[in-house]
Assembly symmetry: C2
Homo-oligomer: 423 residues x 2
């Protein structure tokens, strides 16, 4: 079943070459053609429901044979409702505005040259992910909308399901007269395929890894092409001394406990010393009642016997669980310093009624997303109005933050003259 | 003089750590502080004219001792006029609008959250360059304006000159109360320092190489951090059948011959077969008279005995010299295909009076800069109105095209709420 290294290299290179060849027609595809392809894919997907569920049953069997955790297997399980959600996701991306060619900015130079900066396709995007067959549809759809070609390397837990989903997307592409090579699935479970994909610097323009930390770390380490991803989401909520106590209470509970496994979940709570005795006890009360473990510094420990002592390690840990580290800080500067030192430049929030403090926090916290008086769980492309997201990036260069179809484009400059030559 | 590998590694890591430490105060520096630092640096530079010219004389002596080409040495030579130009360059960057915190876009979500995308500093930028001591001042100034720290690795041809220039910039930083580690010069000529710099992925956020093709290629190959650069500038001018003959003539001559050594110089001329007999002869006449060598396909060869046969290699060659390859093509599609296949995605132009053809060319040519009815030599941050440029990037992700202070920033999202939690 597993091909040898040379056969694998040949397979991957062929995928890359077909992707590169498809990049031009996909970049040139009209908005209507892309809409039609995604809409048709959704229709075909609904029509092939039974086939897809049968394929997913094979995946579930393989998960059991491989002794995968029940949680992991559950994330890959499909039922009619989940398939319908995938189809609706395709239709939602189809309905989004087309980002290709959209005008970012324009200005006219003294010599009369008009300069426009417009959104342009990136080219070939490789997505490496684990489990969850819906990513197959989402990622393929977002890339197509962005005018780019997708090479999908899904988790082996959803190998058969992904094959059917990609088949439906191919039907949509065909219906629209677009090349099926626009969305390709790596046809082997061999893990070495990922290494090959990451090294194809002439054929792949950017890699988007989605999954556990070890996968992301491997991709960041090995990739010879730019990576759009975040390794950690060590998000903070900071309750400033001018915070509204009730608002702080609602925000912290939501930021930690709404869903604990998402990257935008708050992992560390910082509270100003001035308001620790007034604002913190109700927050801790809510969290304990919701089943959250609290790891606190000495001040916090004295507030409640259930508080576990926090170690240095806690300040740089992404729990992705019902655990919160809590620290009392001496004001705004100390809070900002803590966030920039221990955080992961992902998403951080301040709760305050003080405009100057909010402005300073927003400016000085070096994160992709900084919030005032809102839950860190809003770190999501859908919540930003992007319609869909392929991930959240914390690299230094753009695109940074949630990546939707528009953010998954690059830009180019159009310079429009009437015969100008340069003196 | 050359330290051992361990001493070198220690030196470079110390530079990187100091740079990282300076990144926060530089990101937070006020626009006024940055303006003052650059203005004061210009003043000090003028005051240390004699010292700088003496240092430059040492560099010239070293160039002679190393048997460097006269052209290379000349690019590093300073005189009073060139030093004054460097000082004025610092003042020009000082006068530019401050990009940090500038609002890119903002919108409000149905739940009342206001989302703003604002420009934010990248962090630590390493610039690796050859010759030309003015790059030391330009690059340091652009990074500072962009709120980033600069690590400068200049050419050994301008080692002593660069030391004096950086000393002047340190005086400016001190005068403004900013850390001098904001602009650091690698204090050794050892080439291994570059390799170390490219591997410092925790301390350096992006690398900007400037210089010859072998330097750029080395940086792209070795860097473990993102690179902003272009390897080639194989720029095209395409004379469409609906081109104004006189305009085409003026644009082609300028695009090729204004300066032949810049990356925006046209290297290949494409002419529609329909107008080859009418539009091409006057263009060739001008080029020959200006001393340009023409390498043409068979049609072009028949037009003038001085035309040299072009080989396949010519279509992918950046001459950076008074040489132009010329090809007759069968219309718009063939021209676009040629540009996307043989070009370097840098800068390409169409000359036409036909709006539909211009629109298609601009949309389908996959280059950082696409022009209509203007010279490719406008590929320059100054000509774009950026005030200064640190280079032109042809990578797939933003920033793409000319990189000025604004383009040398990243972005972040501010999310402003009044207590929103996520359902």
């Amino acid at each position: 079943m597993t091909p040898g290294p040379e056969a694998l290299a040949a397979t991957m290179d062929a995928i890359g070459r077909r992707a590169r060849a498809a990049a031009t027609p996909i970049a040139d595809a009209t908005p209507a053609a892309k809409r039609l392809a995604l809409g048709a894919a959704a229709t075909v997907l609904r029509g092939r429901m039974a086939e897809l569920l049968a394929a997913n049953a094979l995946d579930m069997e393989a998960c059991r044979a491989a002794s995968l955790s029940a949680a992991m297997a559950d994330r890959s399980r499909l039922d009619e409702a989940r398939v319908e959600a995938i189809a609706q996701g395709l239709e939602a991306v189809a309905a989004l505005p087309d980002p290709v060619g959209a005008l970012d900015a324009s200005w006219t130079r003294p010599n009369g040259l008009e300069i426009r900066r417009v959104r342009a396709p990136i080219g070939v995007v490789a997505i490496v992910y684990e489990a969850r067959p819906n990513v197959t549809a989402d990622a393929g759809a977002i890339c197509l909308k962005a005018g780019s070609v997708a090479i999908l390397r899904g988790g082996s837990e959803s190998f058969e399901s992904s094959r059917v989903i990609v088949g439906c997307m191919h039907a949509g592409l065909r219906a629209s007269g677009l090349p099926v090579d626009a969305i390709q699935l790596v046809p082997t479970r061999d893990r070495a395929a990922v290494g090959r994909l990451l090294a194809m610097s002439g054929l792949v323009d950017v890699v988007v890894p989605r999954g556990g930390k070890s996968l992301i770390a491997r991709v960041m380490e090995e990739a010879r092409v730019p990576v759009l991803a975040h390794l950690d989401g060590i998000c903070h909520t900071y309750v400033h001394r001018a915070a509204d106590a009730g608002m702080a209470r609602r925000i912290v509970l939501n930021a930690k406990m709404r869903r604990t496994t998402v990257c935008g979940a708050t992992e560390t709570l910082l509270v100003d010393r001035d308001v620790a005795l007034t604002h913190l006890p109700p927050i801790l009360h809510d969290l304990f009642r919701a089943g959250c473990e609290i790891r606190g510094d000495e001040v916090v420990q004295r507030m409640d016997p259930r508080v576990i002592p926090a170690t240095e390690e806690d300040w740089r840990t992404e729990y992705l669980d019902a655990i919160l580290s809590v620290r009392v800080v001496d004001g705004l500067d100390a809070a900002i310093e803590h966030v920039n030192r221990h955080g992961s430049h992902h998403t951080d929030a301040i709760v305050t009624e003080d405009d100057a403090a909010a402005e300073a926090f927003c400016r000085r916290v070096d994160s992709a997303i900084v919030l005032r008086n809102a839950s860190t769980q809003f770190a999501d492309g859908g919540e930003f109005g992007f319609g869909a997201e392929i991930g959240i990036a914390t690299g230094r260069l753009p695109p940074r933050g949630p990546i939707g179809p528009e953010q998954l484009t690059t830009w180019k400059y159009l310079v429009l003259g009437d015969g100008q030559t340069r003196p």
